[in-house]
Symmetry: C2
Subunit: 205 residues, 2 copies
DNA sequence: CCTACCGATCGGTAGG
DNA sequence: CCTACCGATCGGTAGG
């Protein structure tokens, strides 16, 4: 009790800080080598810990993978989704902000291999299991955020005539994922610019 | 010389047939577990061979990976590119046929994990080396095929007013890659239908 | 193409 | 959180 009095609300214990630093490194490694390619020994070396130290935190490789996915989700929410929601009202401007936020997130290389969820969706797409399901859940939530914004835009009368919100949200999501792959594969920043042009034209902004 | 007289042109020797069967299985495994996840031992079990039998064919894991990429390219050319070129003249119809051929190829699950080059582009995007470079080369050739068809369509006056061929080819390529990821991740055939709608509208066909 | 083997690394555990 | 260890599997080789 006395010990806990020295912590302000929102501060992290030493163990929590260590855990967060491990997971940040794990997410970085996973965008380069995949979640299956992530090894306990490699992560131990990268964080300066022992393997068994990591097992003390996570118990198993699968638990580490799941915790890494959670950490990547927190990062994605903070870097992409939250700024778009805070800076715009529901509708076309928010849809645009979500797309631009994603492209900026890729361009800034928040993770060295690009978007964590594009890489792991491609990696785990046909590998059933709990990690697949978690990645698929968060991918659906991202698609859901695009769809919600598109529907609000439609309800606001902000979409071009004849544009269906579900179709639009799908096309934007697929474009962003495809752009991430091409950008990283060819270290080609032009792809991000082309995606911005596509988005602006589709939204007539 | 006498031995070779029993082979017609285009026939394969026993060693060549074995090699082709190994690489077909390797490409299948790689679309599920990745080219790095492809192990010599696992491939040996899947093909009923010994590990050293595989080394006799390929020499090293990297050579096996490169040979697998080549085999996947042959499959992609045969399944997607060649039919589009044979069935259409240069221009908008060919661009449409390339896109539809890709979607059909994903839908038919020629490989269990979807398009080999989408999976490996995402996997190797930020892992430099000869295998990355080969995958990137063939991805560029695919983009080039889309671009060539789009330019011919523009020259034919078959594109909607104000549509730039390079921009169009980029958008279609990104859409197809993104569609592959979503389709496989969620086992969702609706995504392919949405992609077809998007393509038809973009090409006004 | 095979058996038999190599050192290194894998995920994971015992015991502290 | 550590050292020290486990069996299994990794990529690769020797010798045939």
């Amino acid at each position: 009790m006395l010990g806990s009095m020295s912590m302000d609300v929102g501060e992290l214990t030493k163990g929590e800080r260590t855990r967060a630093a491990i997971l940040h490194e794990a997410a970085r490694l996973a965008t380069v080598g995949g979640l299956e390619g992530l090894s306990i020994g490699g992560l131990a070396k990268a964080t300066g810990m022992s393997k068994s130290g990591l097992y003390a935190h996570f118990g198993s490789k699968e638990e580490l993978q799941l915790a890494t996915v959670e950490a990547a989700r927190v990062s994605f929410m903070k870097e992409v989704v939250a700024p778009a929601i805070q800076s715009t009202g529901a509708g076309r401007a928010r849809l645009r902000a979500l797309c631009d936020g994603f492209l900026s997130y890729v361009e800034r290389r928040v993770f060295p291999g690009g978007c964590f969820f594009v890489v792991t969706s491609a990696e785990l797409g046909s590998r059933p299991g709990p990690v697949h399901d978690r990645v698929a859940l968060y991918q659906r939530q991202w698609s859901g955020a695009l769809l919600e914004a598109a529907r609000a835009a439609g309800a606001n009368g902000e979409l071009p005539a004849g544009v269906d919100a579900e179709q639009l949200a799908f096309e934007l999501g697929a474009l962003l994922a495809g752009t991430n792959i091409v950008t990283v594969l060819h270290s080609d920043a032009d792809a991000v610019e082309r995606a911005r042009v596509a988005i602006a034209r589709r939204l007539e902004i």
